[in-house]
């Protein structure tokens, strides 16, 4: 299904490519706003508004990631380049699994934290008529809130490290084996290589 791709063995499906880069941009914003809203000195009003924006953006990230997983499941994946050693292939698969796990845990732990928060503030997705519900049965549960908060922080740090590894691997394989991995995740003409 989804026959957009003339080179299914060379690159990912268009929707996967689009979502990959949108999520990458979104993550950049989530990391920046998340670190800034917790650590920076600023008026309370700005901090409050930034929290609401981070929450609303998190909902959109959750949907984008769900859609990305769905696309991955429904479309053909280009096989890993044959130049990679067996060990490298294993490592690549493990790394991508870790990326997906991190991507899923981030919005879910954020959602849980917000749902269990003593503030009990609702989440509106940028407009008053889209209200994202809280997870039930955890209302004002400080134990669960702190559990979710720690998870959000630890997984964020881990995800950042894996993303750095993800980018480093692209550069490393280019230098070491001259493999253009980036072409798998963009709409390059794949006629040569």
């Amino acid at each position: 299904m989804f026959t957009d791709n003339r080179y299914p063995d060379k690159r990912y499906h268009s929707l996967s490519v689009l979502l990959h880069w949108l999520i990458a941009g979104g993550l950049l914003f989530m990391f920046a706003s998340g670190l800034y809203m917790v650590n920076a000195e600023m008026p309370k009003a700005d901090q409050y508004k930034l929290f609401q924006i981070h929450k609303a953006s998190g909902v959109i990230m959750l949907w984008a990631i769900a859609l990305r997983l769905l696309t991955r499941w429904l479309t053909h994946q280009p096989p890993l380049p044959s130049e990679l050693s067996v060990k490298e292939q294993k490592l690549a698969k493990l790394g991508h699994l870790a990326l997906y796990i991190g991507l899923c845990v981030m919005p879910l732990s954020g959602w849980l934290m917000v749902s269990a928060s003593p503030f009990g503030l609702p989440t509106f997705v940028f407009v008053d008529w889209i209200k994202w519900p809280h997870i039930p049965f955890v209302e004002r549960n400080k134990t669960i809130e702190s559990l979710a908060r720690n998870t959000h922080w630890i997984v964020a740090s881990g995800l950042l490290l894996i993303i750095i590894g993800h980018i480093a691997a692209v550069i490393m394989h280019k230098k070491k084996q001259n493999i253009q991995l980036l072409k798998r995740m963009w709409w390059f003409k794949n006629d040569q290589n």
């Binding site: 309370k44 009003a45 901090q47 409050y48 003593p118 503030f119 503030l121 609702p122 209200k131």
Partner: protein
């Protein structure tokens, strides 16, 4: 026989006049509002459903009794409107109605001094305010301490986010 009937009717009329000498007013005629600060930003709102019975001096036994539906608080901000009815704030599930009952009303220059109790979240605390005469209206502004009523006690006990002092505003017609 006719005279008796007339007398009875007159009695009934007098009694009902006596009973209903208190003036009934509600949210269609005035404003019961509140205002404060959240995260350094001013907010204000009003209760859109309330009713009151008012009689003021020189009536024989002046009194004010007011009930307002806490679920009817509207601020114009969806996040506030969603949060206010919750358990830690107005707790409308367990305490749907706020109530003011006067204990003493005195006529003073340009208005009335009112003393009484305000019941919120199941707590009844003394309050007093001056109703200022302004043409055909009576207006007042006085502060209450939200933490004394346990409002937001769990979420924000140090008033880091929501001001401890909440200004109540009244604007009602003269009875």
């Amino acid at each position: 026989m006719h005279y008796l009937r007339f007398f009875a009717l007159a009695c009934l009329l007098c009694a009902s006049t006596f009973v209903f000498s208190k003036s009934n007013i509600d949210n269609t005629q005035g404003i019961v509002g509140f205002a404060g600060e959240h995260a350094g930003m001013a907010f204000s709102g009003e209760f859109t459903r309330w009713n009151a019975k008012i009689s003021l001096p020189p009536e024989a036994s002046p009194s004010i009794e007011a009930e307002f539906q806490l679920a009817s608080a509207r601020t114009g901000d969806a996040i506030y409107d969603e949060t206010l009815p919750e358990g830690d704030w107005f707790d409308v599930k367990n305490h749907p109605v706020g109530k003011f009952t006067s204990s003493n009303i005195e006529a003073v220059d340009n208005g009335y001094l009112v003393e009484g109790t305000l019941r919120l979240r199941g707590k009844t605390l003394p309050v007093s305010f001056k109703l200022n005469e302004n043409g055909e209206r009576l207006q007042s502004r006085f502060a209450i301490d939200r933490l004394e009523y346990g409002i937001g006690l769990d979420s924000d006990p140090e008033a880091d986010w929501v001001s401890r002092e909440i200004q109540m505003t009244l604007d009602i017609p003269k009875p």
